[in-house]
């Protein structure tokens, strides 16, 4: 089923790409100068390949284990993605050191690491990262 869904998504992506390529301004002299020329070829390839994958996914059993992530792993993974998303949303607000320390601490807790070692290692990693980028590489972090 996963292959079937991927195939359908690829076809949709190809159709959107083709539509986008059609909106690009036309070229002059020969068709090869049209900015939309190559994108249309890529879009066509995606549509054809997506259709083949969807067909394969529909007709054949997968050769790999496409079983769902168990609930706990799924939740943990979702929490990690959410944490990264939140960290990026809050980038530039507050303090890099504090934001990063909390972020890494929570990441390690999500990975089921013990509280005290998580706190210690997060602190060390945060400060080393800050020193590396601001002092060694002169990057301005918030």
């Amino acid at each position: 089923m996963a292959d079937f869904l991927f195939g359908i998504c690829t076809v949709i992506f190809g159709v959107i790409l083709y539509w986008g390529a059609n909106q690009l301004p036309g070229g002059v002299l020969t068709f090869a100068l049209n900015p939309g020329f190559f994108p249309k070829i890529v879009a066509g390839g995606l549509i054809i390949l997506g259709a083949i994958l969807a067909y394969q996914g529909w007709k054949h059993k997968p050769t790999y284990d496409e079983g769902k992530l168990n609930k706990e792993l799924g939740l943990r993974f979702g929490a990690l993605l959410g944490l990264v998303f939140l960290y990026l949303i809050l980038w530039g607000r507050g303090s890099f050191l504090l934001n990063t320390l909390i972020f890494l601490f929570l990441c390690q807790l999500i990975m089921k690491y013990r509280v005290l070692p998580s706190l210690l290692s997060s602190t060390v990693i945060t400060f080393l990262t800050w020193i590396l980028f601001t002092q060694a590489f002169k990057v301005h972090l918030f």
Partner: protein, 500 residues
């Protein structure tokens, strides 16, 4: 030769040596730890070396690359877990040797023959790269288009998974490479009015996302309990190392295997899109077929281990030849290195040999020194590698996570690049989870603009007549190679069906 001596003078500067040692040390750690790859390490370190002089920055990256490929064999031998994909074949005979009480000898073979293979690859590069680059200077747009297509097709053909999936990731990479400005008319394309996207998707953050963050997300989603399982294995790992050096009789006995492995490694490495994992597997297989002691392979054969270790480091020289002489990545790491070279203002390809031969010789010098460093430090590191394998996974993954995010930001001081890395990470996770090969997407990102530009230029030259790609001999050869590469999985599938 005088250029090589001048290059050696440059790389022997204390500053460059320091960064080379740093890179080699990092590579030893990265390669030993299962889950970390040379590609990931080079991708994450690339923006961190941005502020260094080119020789120093490349010293870090080349040191990491060479050392990581070799040190992946350490955990393959001690734990039966390959440290990097290049060391998969090292588990066939390395781990059985360790179980028989020959852990030290296996580790020593890993160091010595990785060095021998690495030096062999560099010698081949020295001999072949310059003539190849001179030959490639005669290429026109049709030849470059066909070469780029061939490079893309080879990655798909040897991806080992579904050809359709490999093609899809390749076409997704081509689609991503379309974002930005039209290469011939500079018309904005698919930037949705965003000034951040006007120059296209930043290659290095995307690469960091796919290889670095994608791997972190995958490991954390799929195998968070492996640390508990591995701690059990760690206790089983052998503590007595014993003799590490081969004696004279063993050296002579394993010479044919070393030669077969090295030659196989260089040839496979030179083929665009293949890598050290394929090189070491084929090196093992070819050595087994040629050996008088076939029955020992897979059960602790010294010859088997010699062949794989020689092959996976010899592959680096072959991949570098293709990358630097033709501008086509030989494997995933050289695909990343192309980005690094461009960061230093150097475009890999035949013109580099004509205009920046000093840079070429600097790379050669760094490769030789990196091999010498890991030869010297490898024996010591191998003895005490157990401590690194014990590093808790949460610390490792969270370090990679923050280095990937901040590293992506540091390149252009843009938060947008971090978002690109994050989305690349999600893409990388999905590809891994659902068995899509990752290599084609990076290859397509690099080759896409080149393929498009040369395709359209060739059509303009021929007034829209597509036979230009078939009427020029070199272009025709590459296109036939492309067709063969794409059809070879079908032949193999049919042959397997007949055998059944």
């Amino acid at each position: 030769m005088p250029d090589l001596l001048v290059a050696f003078q440059q790389v022997l500067q204390p500053g460059v040596l320091l960064y080379l040692i740093l890179g080699t040390t990092l590579g030893l750690v990265v390669g030993t730890l299962p889950g970390l790859t040379a590609t990931m390490a080079v991708a994450i370190l690339t923006p961190l070396t941005f502020w260094l002089p080119p020789a120093s920055g490349l010293g870090v990256l080349i040191g990491v690359w060479n050392a990581a490929i070799f040190s992946g064999g350490i955990s393959a031998i001690l734990l039966n877990i390959p440290g990097t994909p290049a060391s998969i074949a090292s588990t066939f005979d390395g781990y059985p040797m360790a179980k028989k009480g020959q852990a030290g000898l296996a580790l020593g073979i890993n160091v010595l023959y990785s060095f021998i293979g690495g030096i062999f690859g560099i010698v081949v590069f020295l001999i072949a790269a310059f003539p190849l680059a001179r030959f490639a200077l005669s290429f026109g747009p049709a030849e470059y288009f066909a070469l780029g297509l061939f490079g893309l097709s080879m990655m798909v053909a040897v991806s080992g998974t579904s050809v359709v999936k490999g093609l899809i990731t390749g076409f997704i990479g081509l689609a991503l490479s379309l974002v930005g400005l039209d290469p011939m008319l500079a018309t904005p394309r698919f930037n949705f009015g965003s000034t951040d996207l006007i120059t296209g998707l930043s290659f290095i953050p995307l690469m960091i996302g796919i290889f670095g963050l994608g791997e972190v997300f995958y490991q954390m989603a799929i195998a968070p309990y492996q640390s508990q399982q591995e701690s059990g294995k760690k206790k089983e790992s052998l503590t007595k190392i014993g003799r590490m050096l081969v004696n004279a009789k063993e050296f002579i006995q394993t010479l044919p295997a070393a030669i077969i492995g090295s030659v196989t490694g260089v040839i496979i490495g030179a083929i665009p899109g293949t890598g050290a994992d394929i090189a070491s597997l084929l090196g093992w297989e070819f050595s087994r077929r040629a050996s008088k002691r076939k029955e020992e392979y897979g059960k602790g054969s010294i010859e088997g281990l010699v062949a794989t270790c020689a092959a996976n480091n010899a592959c680096l020289g072959g991949a570098l030849t293709t990358m630097m002489a033709l501008g086509i990545p030989g494997d995933a790491v050289t695909a990343v290195l192309i980005g690094s070279f461009m960061m230093y203002g150097v475009q890999p390809g035949p013109a580099m040999f004509r205009d920046r031969s000093d840079f070429v010789f600097t790379v050669i010098g760094l490769m030789i020194l990196a091999n010498l460093f890991f030869l010297v430090t490898g024996f010591i590191f191998s003895r005490f590698a157990g401590g690194f394998i014990l590093l808790p996974k949460p610390i490792m993954w969270s370090t990679i996570l923050i280095l990937s995010l901040v590293g992506s930001f540091s390149l252009n001081n843009r938060l947008f690049d971090v978002w690109v890395a994050f989305l690349g990470g999600i893409l990388g996770f999905l590809f891994r989870r659902y068995q899509f090969p990752i290599g084609p997407i990076i290859l397509a990102l690099i080759l896409g603009p080149m393929v498009e530009r040369n395709f359209r230029t060739a059509l303009i030259i021929s007034h829209g007549n597509p036979t230009i790609f078939f009427s020029r001999p070199i272009s025709l050869i590459f296109i036939l190679g492309t067709a063969l590469a794409l059809m070879s999985p079908l032949f193999l599938y049919k042959r397997k069906g007949e055998e059944r």
